[in-house]
Symmetry: D4
Subunit: 228 residues, 8 copies
């Protein structure tokens, strides 16, 4: 086990991670100071050529941009990117569906993450189950995707419906959208975990980033086939 990392005192930047896990470290900015985020970001760009920061505030971005002028800020997704991975060359695209307009921030975090990883995405928003015809109107686009990321708050029913309509892996992302009995997203989370759709797997509440990482790992596995 000869993996290497760089000691910053307050953090250990894991440069061997790309080899071990396929992607360089991503910075979870919440709870870190702008200076800490910047110091980590600089080292990752130096080693890997690009960097992604999630849960980033405007303050985080200002500090990073002062050091890395190529960096950009994705407001709704609350992400910082600087560069991106080479295009994956995958034949497949990731479909990102969301139930309501309030779920957009989470859906866009997934989209920005996949773009940073060189994957192609298609976004299909506001197709919640209370108006099924909106989803059915775009069902061919949905079926053409290789992997589906399905984002929903409230009762979180959309992944079950999607899973019944397609023959692809479905990654469900509950959101904290809702009030009262939605319990900060727990209702949607429990609904997705007990989904009657058998191909559905679930990530944490509001974790668009995690869903994107799982989708990316699936497409890279599928891509090996084509590459070979």
């Amino acid at each position: 086990m000869a993996d290497a990392f760089e000691e910053l005192g307050f953090a250990k930047v894991d440069h061997a991670r790309a080899a071990r896990c396929g992607r360089p470290e991503v910075i979870f900015c919440e709870g870190k100071t702008p200076a800490e985020v910047t110091a980590i970001a600089r080292r990752i760009v130096a080693a890997s050529g690009y960097v992604l920061g999630t849960r980033a505030s405007r303050e985080h971005f200002a500090a990073v941009a002062a050091e890395l002028p190529a960096a950009g800020y994705h407001e709704r997704a609350r992400c910082i990117t600087c560069g991106a991975a080479a295009p994956s060359g995958s034949r497949h695209v990731v479909g990102i569906l969301s139930a309501g307009t309030s779920d957009l921030a989470v859906a866009e975090e997934a989209a920005v993450t996949l773009a940073a990883f060189g994957q192609r995405t298609v976004s299909i928003f506001d197709v919640g189950v209370a108006g099924l015809h909106r989803l059915l109107a775009r069902i061919d686009e949905v079926r053409a995707c290789g992997v589906l990321i399905v984002v929903a708050g409230m009762e979180g029913a959309l992944p079950s419906v999607v899973s019944g309509l397609v023959d692809r892996p479905v990654i469900a992302v509950p959101t904290s959208v809702g009030y009262g009995a939605s319990l900060g997203g727990l209702a949607a989370l429990l609904g997705m975990l007990t989904s009657c759709g058998s191909k559905v797997t679930v990530v944490n509440i509001d974790n668009g980033f995690g869903a994107a990482c799982a989708a990316d790992a699936i497409l890279r596995l599928a891509g090996e086939g084509t590459a070979a």
Copy 2:
């Protein structure tokens, strides 16, 4: 306030209830002895002409039938009935939808209750959201109903979908069907309460009886219109 009741010592049989609430008392048998259920049932039949017992075991039924030979037992619904109300004459029928075969017991408790109250029902079973075409295939029947009772366990998504397709009151009944994160029906309950379908109201887990009472009250209100 001159309402009357009959004192049995262990219970007070509420004979004025029919006037006040539209229906005679129904016996919740669980936690009562067969002898207690029988004693109450006899008095209600004497006063109202029919009786309904829910959550009844075979032992409850045996005791009741010894005294009231006209009584019948509905195995899956776990109900005892003896007689029924006069047909309501309502123009409307209650649609009872269930998501999976495991939800049948609860759906049938609703059906037996409505029959005892003189209402007409149509049952549409096994139309869960993971196979939407099964529901869509019978959508005209669904739309023809005056009230919908929608029974579902697991993630409880069916009422949301139904509510988006019809212009009728939807009463959602979560069931305890499921395991793990279904938390004994809580996942379905929370899902239904946070439903994006705006006409959906909810009753307790496995409470087919309560859903039927609410549907009955709605049809009686609607029936007054026709009668007038």
Copy 3:
């Protein structure tokens, strides 16, 4: 399935909804920008003649009013309305009862919604179970209603009591009023779900809007009878 909707990019305005569900879309304003709310509101008014926005802030209203001068703001209910449906012509009125003065915001959301839908309401406030005589003093008014919406926080006992006194559908709305063991409204919600009143159905915590939609659907069903 030929329903139509209008694509705004961030949302799909569902113009076929009125045909399918009886009422045009209502805007849940929380989590949408004033500009988004305004854009959606304009299109709904154009198609349906009136619009309702719930959970609206003063900022939402200011943006909408700049475009739709006929719009009004209901402060306590946090609703925007612009026009209203034609009077329903229903023989029935909806009774809106609330337990304490702190539950008024939710009760008024229900009242504003029903007014927007052309239904008549009567409000009976501050009749909580700790002072029963206040409720009993107005029991004739309560019994004259076609549907009851009963709003209560704390232990949420009022719907049980009301259900025992009337022969009508009772829609219970728990509120987040309370502290400590009220758990943000969960105590009232659980109490209403386990109500010993058999005609009680329940909506989400603070969801005065949903209760109004259900009451409206019931009255429209009852109205068909009279119209026929």
Copy 4:
């Protein structure tokens, strides 16, 4: 601190407790063997003249009765008694109200405990809030009591109503009667804790014994006044 106790190895019988706390130890039988219960019971009778065992099975009773022939078993209350305290001489009686017939076991545990402590009780059963007239019909009896113990499952609303009608301490006992959202009595417990009735205090679910102990302590305090 010179209090004395007797060491049995598996237990320490606290003979000074009567002096310190007003009443000798009571045996919580669940989780103890019949032999252990008998050994403790014998010593308490020897020291205090009477003994009470709660949560006792028929097996516990058989073992105790073999040694203490004067012992009796209260089936529904699941209590063993052998003798009783001298009559308290209190001018006041404890009212024990219960909402449904299924709550009787808990109500009777309270009644048996108070009898063992030499207090007088009056039982008023099956007066749940869904049929208020049953309670109002006996309101004079209720108001004549010195302390009220109010036992209820499901939504647990009865203590709030009683508290609004009387000028006496109200001790609320939630029961585990119910299903689904009653969560084994938690719904009733939370409802009672958030009661809008200001004189209501609460004990654990199904703890009729604890409610009786509190009522006994109150009457003994009140009794000192008369004695003086």
Copy 5:
């Protein structure tokens, strides 16, 4: 049932409450506007001679004081008082114990309430179970009280210990003091409900007012004895 109340539109002031429940209405100020609180306070003073407002902010007080110059504000207890009941003449004093300095606000709400009701109290603060000798040093004072109100956050163990040392009713008040696993006071609440001390009853988290009402009702019952 001839009880009277005064209709303010947003509230019904319950003037018959003193006769029915022993004490005039108390105003729960949170969630009411200063103007509403003032309007209600004026009427209660007019009818009963004194008034108490709990959960009152400085803004509430300013509005009330402008109209009722005799009103005073109890900062830590967050209470407004204007006048007080006549001294109860009770032989007994209420002991108010608190575990930590952070529990003082709740303990003082109880003390202010009892003073407004004309009862005498003694406060014994900072006697938590981690330093038992502080409690034991004042045990004679504790034992001299007629009723004990025991306020504690964190694990809420103090009522159990007190109950084992005295022969008096113990009213336990959990507080929201703590962090992490204290779950906003739920840990203390559950601990008190499962207390091994048999005379302990419990009120809602931070509900010093409710504990005082219960203690007041107990002392008034005991006082009848002396008066007779």
Copy 6:
């Protein structure tokens, strides 16, 4: 939407599912009678050539085997199989890791499901994080898998560790193994959802079947690449 299904009265067998979702229906046997399971199984075999039943008891198997002599029973996995899909031809194998010997039932449900779907698996059991060297000793085998299913109860830490060591999709399955604070598997579930491993997705507690379905969908996606 021309999908077909067969109506059995108590169930609708969804024959179009294979086309729509890639796999024929699987029977969740729990809560169905042996006769119902057999009736459904017969029709699925007739239409698809093989069938899988999960959560099957010995009684379910006996009934199925009487009709379908080729059926076999997998005791620990509680599965019935009759035939299997053609080998998928995938270049990839699914690794099934489990933390403790008590997690084997769930791990084997996943293995049986994947075998029925024609996928190859390798099982690596008893490699929990309290003895890391057991996992590290087999790390090359783990890294050679295309997808990892990681099964763990108690604190559910294994998926996080595995995710840090490999560059593949990781599907985490919490189990109900544990006691006390494991809360029937909730501790493991929450742990996996909050995993610091970014490629981890999660299924319901004890849902080895669902994890296998997701892994199968991933391998079929990857297989399309090779086929092309």
Copy 7:
């Protein structure tokens, strides 16, 4: 990392564990067959000279004893032992305190475990906080211990009190003894975690074994000092 283990197929017996963690593996018998337990036990005895099995049924013991005649069964503790470690030679003894007689099973699991590990213990049972004098009567014995294991159900207050009286590490063990609001031991667990006693650490509900392991590790650390 050259640690060794023995592969049994269904389990990996970790022979290097003694070197790494100070103690050989202990068998958690629940969920394993008697044959599996026996196979593992035989190998551990062969390698380490003694073995301990926890959560063992009489059936587990019968199978083990047939192979290892020296094995013994501790009924109340539900443990199998065969041999024991050499006496630790520690100057310190572990005090095991329990609050009630119902907590004995957990306390004895701790005692049996420590005996198997060659440590000395003293048991002080039935010293719950509702009768403080029982604890204070033995306070010198308590203070003479090197480490305290404090076992309590219900409200779990004993560790807080003990921690305030001694200058030693206190390991708190919540038990599932109780009912209603004890929530299967959660109330005690939360109480111990929020203990105002600063030296208190906590293990899982009913985990007497874990507490013993922690105490053993502490004494071995302390023992190194003396040995040196």
Copy 8:
């Protein structure tokens, strides 16, 4: 029981605590005014020579420093110290491990506390289980410690892994770092309580101070051995 304390009115400063519990009182500053903290701090320094305040704001520090110029503020740990205990002379050092950079505040509270108590510590930060090589790279340092404090948020898996690698007491500290299903630290807490590592004990969420107290008590016990 002749222990002494000093009465400040709002608090009782427990001067006998050092004798009884080994360390003087520590001030939990949250919820106390700067003036209260200062008054207590002055008295403790006078009696014991040093003081520690936890959960202290900059405002608390400013007030203390005005009176005690030697006081210092530890920003990230939110602690005030003034002086320190004499070096313990322990042969052992406490290892403080943390999983992520966001856990540093809690880890440093533990470090500051131990320094104030005269104990030596070594900090090993950012060694979470998703990058095991970072931990393994420093395993010799970890194994050289006498006690391990392991701080982790999210799924809280680090203590389990550490416990499997070392032969020392492990004190686990869950942190509130995380979102969604981390439930404010409950996921980490439950994970640590159900850890498969048998020597792990747990303290409250974010309670670095409590972990340090337990470690200090262990080292003082071990130190007695060397001293003798």
